[in-house]
């Protein structure tokens, strides 16, 4: 059996202490295989975002462990952790988080700039990513001047530019109308199928979740089955 690219081992996460203590995750275990598409489904406040943050190594679990390719990510130091995040993960956010008044190309190449890739190499790879998303002609435009669908495609280009192994998509279609949303979904699933990038979709939209290989339902910090019973 192959080693899962990401795995949660009885992960618990709580915030605050004493009476104000809040348990966001109460013991979640999860294996994510290389190349699969998986959705983490739950209502707002269910703990799904916390789970994503832990899997994306943005946060550390209170107890339990997150494993990256079978190795405990908790043991990684700050510098290595930053590099791992930069090279392994791509992020697609509901609210795009594009830097205003900055060109589309500059937005797309941000992860490369953080990684310290040289200018010409950056431009080449940035244009390549934009071409894949049919946005090459918009490279010089200001990111804020684009339509919602175009913005989300820029975000996907940005997530792809560093050729990550895993893409986290947090409500990727939440801010888009149905038609544009469908296009963006198609792009994401196409990437997963054709290039084998692991796709982790975090959503409350069950229609979107149904399109992934597998769905994990989260409620009140625990993994449940589709109907809401404890799994």
């Amino acid at each position: 059996m192959p080693v899962p690219v990401l795995a949660a081992r009885d992960v618990k996460k709580s915030y605050g202490r004493g009476a104000a203590r809040f348990d966001a995750l109460k013991g979640v275990s999860l294996d994510i295989e290389e190349g699969e598409s998986i959705s983490i489904v739950g209502k707002s406040g269910s703990g799904k975002s916390t789970l994503m943050h832990l899997l994306a190594l943005l946060d550390k679990p209170s107890t339990g462990a997150v494993e990256l390719s079978g190795r405990d990510a908790g043991a990684l130091g700050g510098r290595i952790l930053n590099r791992t995040r930069n090279q392994t993960f791509g992020f697609v956010f509901q609210q795009f988080f594009l830097t205003p008044n900055t060109s589309v190309l500059d937005n797309v190449t941000l992860p490369l700039r953080i990684a310290g890739v040289g200018g010409s190499e950056r431009r080449r790879r940035g244009m390549e990513a934009l071409e894949r998303l049919e946005l090459a002609d918009k490279a010089k435009n200001k990111a804020t001047d684009l339509s919602g669908g175009q913005k989300q495609r820029v975000v996907i280009a940005r997530a792809l530019v560093n050729e990550p192994r895993v893409i986290f998509a947090d409500e990727p279609t939440g801010n888009l109308d149905t038609a544009t949303g469908a296009v963006v979904e198609e792009i994401l699933f196409d990437l997963n199928r054709r290039t084998g990038i692991t796709l982790i979709v975090v959503t409350h939209d069950e229609d979107l979740a149904a399109k992934t290989d597998r769905s994990v339902f989260i409620r009140d910090g625990l993994v449940v089955d589709r109907n809401g019973a404890s799994a």
Binding site: H53, A56, L58, D59, G78, R79, N82, R83, T84, R85, N86, Q87, F91, F93, Q94, Q95, F97, T99, N101, L110, P111, R113, I114, A115, G116, G118
Partner: protein, 429 residues
């Protein structure tokens, strides 16, 4: 992110909010402009003093006077064997205890002293040229090693036995010379009245014409031979003891003497009851005053800069606030806290650089323009004075200091940015 990219990003971020950056840069501009201008005034005046005071005297000469007794506890007792002479430096009419001829030998005996000459005060009644109008003349002595700011001719020779004098520029036309160079080589006549009331004249050759300086702008510079001749002429009728009483004497020492040797001579003289000051001491006190004034002015400029520093804090805090999500995103994408800190503090340093570079440039332009106006107006009586002078080192220091202040101001917002939690920053609600 590589260092170069970090700098480039910081610079382009600076221009993202143009109005805010412009206002902050303006605040720094004012401080840096003032600082550059005030230190320029300091440089200009000190440079002028350096060139001008070399006309006060040579650098291997000390002026020796008798130590004035402390009169704070009452007047000094009269001692019959002392003579008082008119003070050269004190209040008009005030007297100092004279140094007598015998005492000169005591001073000569001090180790390190090469020669001792009384400072003779020559007071001719007038100077005239070719029977023309007679003008009052104040005579200053000339010792070799001293340098005059000459408009024409050469300095009077201190070794020569011929009577020589350098005229100030202001005497050239009144005396009847057509130009500065016309005066050189001509003979002028001094009128002297001695103690018995008899008048006599002494003729001297004009060797040069001196520019008006900060000091002695209207005095004629005579060589030793002329000074002695004038002194002898005016002293006819004086008793030899009062003729040989001097308010001060000038003492020469080896020009190669170290500072310790010079102060050893001074302390030896002090024990004998004499005060000695070198030219350096005199320049030193000038400079101390100028430096103190400039320091106070610089202080004001620094206060302005510190105020501008708070402007930087404010600007960057707003910037950090505005870019919360961008910072969160960059951190999520693996940008380390150190780099985030670097990004914002570099932005502060760049704002500081902009403000100070533009401020220094503005000060140089304004200073140059002001010099031009002043040289023809207020300061036209002091040719050679460039009131505001800029030296590259002090400009560089100013820019670096401002960048330093900006960096310090930037640390607060930069730390805030560096500590930001990416998850908090990226929350939607």
């Amino acid at each position: 992110m590589s260092g170069l990219d970090l700098i480039r990003s910081a610079i382009s971020n600076t221009f993202r909010s143009k109005t805010r950056t412009t206002l902050t840069v303006l605040a720094i501009f004012i401080g840096a402009f003032t600082l550059a201008l005030t230190s320029g005034v300091g440089t200009g005046i000190n440079r002028y003093i350096d060139t001008t005071v070399s006309s006060i005297g040579a650098n291997d000469v000390m002026t020796v006077t008798k130590t004035v007794e402390d009169t704070a506890s009452g007047p000094a007792k009269y001692e019959p064997d002392t003579t008082n002479v008119e003070s050269a430096t004190g209040r008009p009419g005030s007297t100092v205890e004279a140094i007598t001829a015998a005492e000169l030998d005591d001073i000569r005996a001090v180790p390190g002293v090469e020669s001792v000459d009384p400072v003779l005060t020559a007071r001719p009644n007038y100077v005239e040229y070719d029977g023309g109008t007679q003008y009052q003349a104040a005579i200053g002595g000339f010792v070799s090693g001293m340098s005059l700011d000459l408009a024409a001719g050469s300095e009077p020779s201190s070794d020569s036995d011929t009577l020589e004098v350098a005229l100030p520029v202001s005497y050239v036309e009144p005396l009847g010379f057509s130009s500065d160079s016309d005066a050189v080589g001509k003979t002028v006549t001094f009128g002297v009245t001695d103690q018995t009331g008899a008048s006599s004249t002494i003729e001297a050759t004009v060797t040069g014409v001196a520019e008006a300086g900060l000091l002695g702008s209207s005095s004629l510079t005579a060589n030793d031979a002329l000074t002695t001749a004038l002194y002898d002429a005016q002293s006819v009728g004086l008793s030899s003891s009062s003729k040989d009483s001097y308010a001060s004497v000038s003492l020469r020492f080896d020009p190669a003497s170290s500072d310790e040797q010079v102060s050893a001579i001074k302390s030896d003289l002090k024990e004998l009851g004499y005060d000695a000051t070198t030219v350096e001491d005199q320049i030193g006190s000038f400079k101390t005053i100028i430096d103190a004034i400039v320091l106070v002015l610089n202080g004001f400029a620094v206060i302005a800069l510190i105020a501008a520093g708070f402007g930087i804090v404010n600007t960057l805090l707003m910037s950090v606030q505005e870019r919360t999500r961008e910072i969160g995103l960059m951190k999520a994408m693996g940008m380390g806290a150190g780099r985030v800190f670097g990004l914002f503090s570099l932005e502060a340093v760049f704002i500081g650089f902009l403000g100070s570079a533009i401020g220094a440039l503005g000060a140089i332009l304004a200073g140059t323009a002001l010099n031009g106006v002043l040289a023809n107006g207020l300061l036209s009586a002091l040719p050679g004075l460039t009131l505001i002078a800029f030296d590259p080192t002090s400009i560089a220091v100013i820019i670096l200091v401002v960048m330093g202040i900006a960096f310090l101001a930037g640390t607060i917002p930069a730390l805030r940015a560096a500590r930001q939690d990416p998850i908090e920053s990226l929350r939607y609600e």
